[in-house]
Subunit: 117 residues, 2 copies
């Protein structure tokens, strides 16, 4: 019988302070962080996530930002391309919803209170 | 007596799914996400954070990456400028340490398991 022990280092659910992040996981996660590296996109994601029912349509969003509709659409598209938001057309509006698994991946990566200190 | 009630929305410790993020908090947090929007920087931060004593010197880091020393130094500088890493010179080496409050800010922003689903 082999006495090899397989240890998963930096696996799917491990925080970045516990084990060095694997190359594959870093490649998968970096685009999520990059998409959130803009204050407008952070606010857009938060607006959608905290809206009633966890969903917001473009009509709920537009009034909050002093930005043109094409600019808001561009930022929503970046969040959607990164897999942080899903969208669905409802009549003449497009509605957005956060992808819970994407936020869970980021949450799992960051340390809990006791790990971070 | 005034019957005004001041309610803090999207305050310092609130996750982005609970309340819409304030403009000031989005402006403060976006650079942290932006700095982590690169797979090499994510791995560098994780390598430093998970290293013995929560600290790693350039000599501990260099061998892990198939990158030139100036490239690694550039990425470490970006992480330091964003306030995610602190550095200290020790003889001929520079040593890096994660800034716990920076990671705590990101952790606090992201939803806990039950909030994310």
């Amino acid at each position: 019988m082999s006495n090899q022990v397989i240890v998963e280092v930096g696996g799917c659910g491990s925080s970045l302070v516990r084990d060095p992040l694997t190359v594959d996981r870093a490649l998968a996660l970096a685009p999520l962080f990059k998409a959130l590296g803009d204050p407008v996109r952070l606010r857009l994601l938060s607006l959608v996530a905290s809206h009633a029912g966890g969903e917001a349509c473009v009509c709920d969003i537009s009034g909050t930002f002093d930005l043109s509709q094409p600019t808001i659409s561009h930022h929503l598209k970046v969040l959607r391309s990164a897999g942080l938001l899903d969208s669905e057309r409802r009549g003449s509006w497009v509605c957005y919803r956060v992808v819970p698994s994407a936020l869970q991946q980021l949450s799992a990566l960051l340390p809990t209170g006791s790990e971070a200190s």
